[in-house]
Amino acid sequence: MLMFLGRRIIATIPVLLVVALIVFMMTRFAPGDPATAIVGDDASAANLHRVRSNLGLNDSLPIQFGRWGWQLLQGSLGESFFLKKQVSELIGQRIEPTLALTCLTLIMTIMIAVPLGIIAAWRHGGWLDRMLMGFSALGFSVPAFVIGYMLIWLFALRWQLFPVQGYSRISDGLGPWLSHLVLPATTLSIIYVALIARVTRAAVAEAMTEDYIRTARAKGISETRVLVRHALANAAIPIVTVIGIGVALLIGGVVVTESVFAIPGLGSLTVDAVLSRDFPLIQGITLFFSVVYVVVNLLVDISYLVLDPRIRY
């Protein structure tokens, strides 16, 4: 068990290394010189050279990458060009809204998508099944910002049930916090529900054709128990896998959703960084999100041990 954990954690190292390399190369190959961006176009050559060597841009690429990687290992993501703060500090300031939004979305999604998928698989070809498939095709096709604006228009402007935009910190009360998050979390969850409900349906439907389902029914246990204890339990691995892979969708969706609902989280920090071409900040956020994605999928891998007793490492 410990061996397995160790091996899995070590296996993520090359992936993270490649991610770091890609992120590093991306900014180094980009046209435009960060030194020029700092000192301005009309700076003297000597001045430019001084800033370049201060930033370490005169060294060879492997040395630059090595130095940057060493800083990363010490937990420093560098300093933002424009905000003049440590990137890690900026991420820390903006993480609460994003974390709240994604967690709420994740909970909502699983609570909606998994039961929907099970019922659709149970009544394969029935009206709920067909509606679910239609909805999921739609969910993959309507962009999050269109859904977001439609929800704002309907629930915030016409019926005034929820605030239009913004975010209220959880320390300022649970009620306002939740009411600010309902519409964004719904927006973000649509594509995720579409994905997970589809996979749940397929996985449960496949499990339902197995012999042990017939045996379970023959034993005379209730249909709910057959569905949950026998079908869902055996369909759990593909579902959890897709929840993990879907985190990439969720991260992309966060950027858009936070922009629509003016939530001051990591997504809007990304957009700000991109619009001001703040290279260290873009690098830092991209790395941060990639690490989150890798860690979530590591957790998913580990969860297989719990979900399937046959897997022993």
């Binding site: 090359p14 992936v15 993270l16 290394l17 490649v18 991610v19 390399l21 890609i22 992120v23 991306m26 900014t27 980009a30 046209p31 095709a137 739609l138 993959f140 096709s141 309507v142 962009p143 999050a144 910002f145 269109v146 604006y149 439609m150 704002i152 228009w153 402007l157 239009v164 589809r198 996979v199 349906r201 397929a202 996985a203 439907a205 496949e206 990439a248 969708l249 991260i251 992309g252 950027v255 858009v256 922009s259 629509v260 990304t270 957009v271 991109v274 619009l275 071409r277 290279f279 873009i282 956020i285 991209t286 999100f289 990639s290 994605y293 890798v294």
Partner: protein, 313 residues
């Protein structure tokens, strides 16, 4: 897999006898989803091709005196010196600069379709290259696939946003930036086909006959991947259209004056409260297009890849 089962259901379209090929083609056309999705797409392509004759005006023309008109208004369209150019029917209203939304939406379809097809082709070609080499040459395999794992770990939208921000928002950078994150999935698909076909007797026979490696790869192995590649290509196309709109919407895509669906929505979002049509009309165009590409993809999957279909996902 046993060697004698070389006639797997997704066996190359190319290798079938002409009569069977025709019947497969007929089966694809007869599929409800393919004809519906394909039909809507054909109509869209036709509409955007004959856009100049469909009551449109220059999609980039600005007329401050006809700003923020509601859909269905009739009025004079002036040039910047105030002369009347035409009496125009603003079918979908205008944005705050007086640009005609109907014209912009129709011309925007050209951008979306171009980006969708170009991204799909680019991702397929590059992914095919990586997948073929990784699958066939064992030495390259692990390095190439670790690289692909790294690319996959960076959430697609984040990758695209960063690349466009760094390299500037031109049509080429947008296409490349959206295509790169799609490469790993295509590469994995092709690689898995190569790995299963490489051991087939007819490949061994080709090797024994001293057939050049490129010929083995292109003539004997690649045709087996055509059907799954076509299916994957439609999904890549759909997601590329969405991502392009997201990039423009966030303000990091193609230049703001260009008529793209994302740009129309980006312009309209600041006054969404009073004039929701600027966001909703292009949103409907976008959703309908992506939906029909996805529906077509589902239909193609059902007809071309029965193995995939049985799994139901």
């Amino acid at each position: 897999m046993a060697d004698e089962i070389s006639l797997s259901p997704d066996i190359a379209v190319e290798q079938l006898a002409p009569s069977r090929r025709r019947s497969l083609f007929r089966r694809v056309i007869a599929n409800w989803s393919v004809s519906l999705g394909g039909g809507v797409l054909c109509m869209l392509v036709l509409t955007t091709m004959i856009a100049p004759w469909l009551g449109t005006i220059d999609p980039t023309a600005i007329d401050p005196s006809s700003g923020n008109l509601l859909p269905g208004t009739r009025g004079d369209f002036n040039n910047l010196s105030g002369e009347v150019i035409s009496n125009h029917w603003f079918l979908m209203g205008t944005d705050s600069l007086g640009r005609d939304i109907w014209s912009r939406a129709l011309y925007g379809a050209r951008v979306s379709i171009t980006v969708g097809i170009a991204v799909a082709l680019l991702a397929l070609v590059l992914g095919m290259f990586v997948g073929l080499t990784a699958g066939y040459f064992r030495r390259i395999d692990s390095v190439a696939m670790r690289l692909m794992d790294g690319v996959m770990a960076i959430p697609g939208i984040l990758f695209a946003v960063s690349l466009v921000a760094l390299f500037g928002g031109t049509l080429v950078t947008v296409i490349v930036a959206i295509a790169v994150p799609e490469i790993p999935r295509v590469a994995r698909l092709v690689r898995s086909v190569v790995l299963s076909i490489r051991e087939e007797p007819y490949v061994e026979a080709a090797i024994a006959l001293d057939t050049p490696t490129w010929k083995i790869l292109l003539r004997h192995i690649l045709p087996n991947a055509i059907a799954p590649l076509i299916i994957q290509g439609t999904y890549v196309c759909a997601s590329a259209i969405l991502v392009e709109a997201i990039l423009s919407f966030l303000g990091v895509g193609l230049p703001a004056e260009m008529a793209t669906w994302g740009n129309i929505m980006a312009e309209g979002r600041s006054q969404f409260n009073q004039y929701p049509h600027n966001v909703l009309f292009p949103g409907v165009f976008l959703a309908l297009t992506v939906l029909s590409v996805n529906v077509m993809g589902d239909g193609l999957r059902d007809t071309l890849d029965p193995k995939f279909n049985k799994r139901g996902n």
